[in-house]
């Protein structure tokens, strides 16, 4: 009898323990606020992308300080503001290292969310980690649409795609046709680097041309390899195409190489554009007056007259004693977007943060259009800025109208 009572007592204790532990133990854990919210990123701080990675690092540090100075992020589940701890690693501009570091951030550092790095190849590689572990992730430096066409749910980006870049450019050209500054139809010589970046750019131009054959005729369309050694064959084709405008997508080094040769060959087109390239100081120094009047499309510029952009540009200049470039602005905005998503979610549950991010509608943003929201694929779909290089190293914003600082000079003057 005594034995049976002892067994019954043990079972009773176990049952009570099972009932009480979740209620008391885990329940208590869910209401105890963590000391900090951990965010992490692997940035290219050394290696080929170190310049851009450096901007992203500074922008993250600036946004982090702002938020922590205000007490951190308000997390409703704990009823208080919690400061952020940001872990940054150097991926050395290497895809494999980047993936390993994002794995480390998730599995060892136990981050609550991930911030993005910079550059299409690195972001294409490391976003797989975020998706695999279902950790919300946002970046401001990987525009290529292909990254977001892989059916991933946890990946977000605050800069619109390269295809959208060519759409914006073509829409703007159509506006110039309507204004009588350019003829109809325009014969287009098109080329782009043989990467997903270049392919998207070319595809965007081709799509727009197909949709409006009365406005655009693509008379040449060529891909070229990165790190071009000889631009002559390509430019001979451009010359032979006898086009009215010349549109290309190239990285900085290729842009300099191609446009130097373009100038040496005395080529001329009513519009010359290298996609996002054009206003960079390194290129303007390398090309001198040959870079005047080049049209470029980009995601941000320090001269945008809207209040959030001006405030950021001034603060960045004051903090780092250097002018902000777009890499910094979009990274800063990505950080703020993550903070807002956590606040909107009201919890540190990763799925809920992801859901809040998917539904985000952030006003007073410094991105073009002043608003951050995401398409179902996780990428923003706002317009790009269009800028034109002016003599004397100046750059003016010519589109969209609400942020334009000058009228475009078209057709570009013959030299």
């Amino acid at each position: 009898m005594f034995k049976i009572n002892k067994i019954l007592l043990t079972i009773l204790v176990l049952i009570i323990s099972f009932i009480l532990i979740p209620a008391v133990g885990f329940g208590q854990a869910s209401t105890t606020p963590p000391k900090e919210i951990i965010l992490g990123a692997a940035l290219p701080l050394t290696g080929g992308q170190s310049r851009e990675g450096g901007y992203v690092n500074k922008a993250y540090a600036m946004a982090l300080k702002e938020i922590n100075d205000a007490g951190g992020i308000m997390v409703k589940a704990y009823g208080k503001k919690i400061p952020i701890k940001l872990i940054i690693y150097d991926d050395k501009s290497d895809n494999t290292t980047s993936v390993q570091l994002y794995e480390k951030l998730v599995t060892e550092d136990k981050v609550n969310a991930l911030m993005g790095g910079y550059g299409t190849p690195l972001i294409t590689a490391h976003t797989i980690v975020a998706e695999k572990y279902r950790v919300p992730y946002v970046n401001g430096g990987g525009a290529t649409g292909a990254i977001y066409q892989r059916g991933m749910k946890y990946i977000f980006c605050v800069i619109s795609s390269i295809e959208k870049l060519s759409f914006t450019l073509m829409d703007w050209i159509a506006l110039q046709q309507n204004a009588g500054k350019l003829k109809k139809p325009l014969r287009i010589a098109l080329m782009g680097e043989n990467t997903s970046h270049g392919k998207e750019f070319r595809q965007g131009v081709l799509d727009k041309s197909k949709a409006a054959p009365d406005r655009f005729q693509v008379v040449m369309d060529e891909p070229f390899e990165l790190n071009l050694k000889d631009a002559d064959p390509l430019l001979q084709k451009v010359k032979a195409a006898n086009a009215d405008i010349y549109l290309a997508d190239a990285r900085l080094a290729d842009y300099v190489t191609i446009h130097r040769r373009y100038t040496e060959m005395n080529l001329y087109h009513s519009i010359v554009s290298y996609g996002p390239r054009g206003p960079e100081k390194a290129a303007r120094d390398a090309l001198g007056p040959a870079s005047d009047y080049i049209i470029s499309c980009n995601w941000w510029n320090k001269d945008i007259p809207a209040a959030p952009s001006k405030a950021f540009a001034e603060k960045y200049q004051k903090t780092y004693n250097e002018p902000a470039e777009w890499f910094a602005a979009t990274a800063y905005e990505a950080f703020r977007v993550m903070a807002k998503a956590i606040e909107d979610a009201g919890t540190l549950d990763k799925t809920k943060i992801r859901d809040a991010m998917a539904k985000i509608d952030m006003k007073n943003s410094l991105v073009v259009g002043g608003r951050v929201w995401f398409e179902p694929n996780g990428q923003i779909n706002n317009d790009h800025l269009i800028m034109q290089n002016m003599p004397g190293g100046k750059v003016v914003i010519i589109y969209p109208k609400d942020v334009a600082t000058a009228q475009p000079i078209l057709p570009i003057p013959k030299k």
């Binding site: 080929g48 000889d230 040496e264 005395n266 090309l287």
Partner: protein, 272 residues
């Protein structure tokens, strides 16, 4: 660049992967001399070439010599490591930013039979020809040059003939490195560059060397001409993005059909 690769391969039978790094350093050296110190872009090589000659000798004496006689993979890995170190030093000093040298000659052209010719490119072409002629003169008509050729042909026999082959390999390596730096300093006048500069040129350099016949200077010049023509003319039928395909297809064809390269072809033609 290819002359340097050929010379080093000919004498030491090693493939110098660090050549790309030397070319990149040549470009940065020219950048500092021209843009920071105000040097004349066409005279910069006069300073650069001797500096890199000494660097090459130093590299051979204290680094490369240690793997001489070891299996080829040792020198390949060693020189690949040297290239990585050079790259990372450049990243530390100059960051990954793209640099370019702009002078009053940049974008300057003159008309030749109605064709605009770039002054920069013309100077680079002329210097390339002069380098070939000087090298040919040096290898064919000086004691040192003959000693280098003798060492390239048969190192043991050269030793028996009283040639200090250690010294000769050191000098040959120095000349090869100096030629790579000359290429880098001249290419920097045409192309923008970063610490990764030279990688694609190295691959093309290998194509040219194999096409030329591995150990022949004239073969290398011919190989470069054939490769340039093949790449430029291929654009008439193929996409420009296929230029690299043309180069490497040519490399494979030459290795299979004509292992002696252009030199072998010329020799066969004249022996008939």
């Amino acid at each position: 660049m290819s002359y340097g690769l050929t010379l080093i391969y000919g004498v030491m039978k090693i493939v110098n992967l660090a050549h790309a790094g030397v070319m990149m350093w040549g470009a940065y050296f020219a950048f500092v001399l021209i843009t920071r110190l105000g040097g004349n872009p066409f005279l910069a090589p006069i300073v650069i070439v001797p500096v890199f000659f000494v660097f090459g000798m130093f590299l051979q004496r204290y680094v490369v010599r240690r793997v001489m006689g070891a299996p080829p993979i040792s020198s390949l890995l060693l020189l690949f490591g040297v290239w990585l170190i050079m790259q990372n030093i450049s990243y530390l000093i100059f960051s990954g930013d793209t640099k370019a040298i702009t002078t009053k000659y940049t974008l300057l052209t003159f008309q030749l039979a109605g064709i605009p010719v770039s002054v920069n490119r013309m100077v680079v072409f002329i210097v390339g020809i002069l380098a070939l002629l000087a090298l040919r003169q040096f290898l064919g008509h000086t004691y040192m040059g003959k000693a280098i050729r003798a060492t390239a042909q048969d190192s043991d026999a050269s030793k028996l003939a009283g040639i200090n082959t250690s010294r000769i390999t050191e000098i040959a390596f120095g000349i090869g490195i100096a030629l790579a730096s000359l290429a880098g300093s001249l290419m920097a006048l045409i192309f923008a560059f970063d610490p990764d500069f030279g990688r694609s040129h190295l691959l093309k350099g290998f194509c040219i060397v194999v096409l030329g016949g591995l150990e022949s200077m004239i073969g290398v010049a011919l190989g470069a001409l054939v490769l340039a023509l093949a790449e430029a003319l291929s654009v008439l039928w193929l996409m420009p993005a296929m230029q690299d395909f043309v180069s490497f297809a040519l490399l494979v064809i030459v290795l299979i059909v004509m292992p002696g390269g252009m030199k072998g072809l010329v020799d066969r033609f004249f022996s008939k």
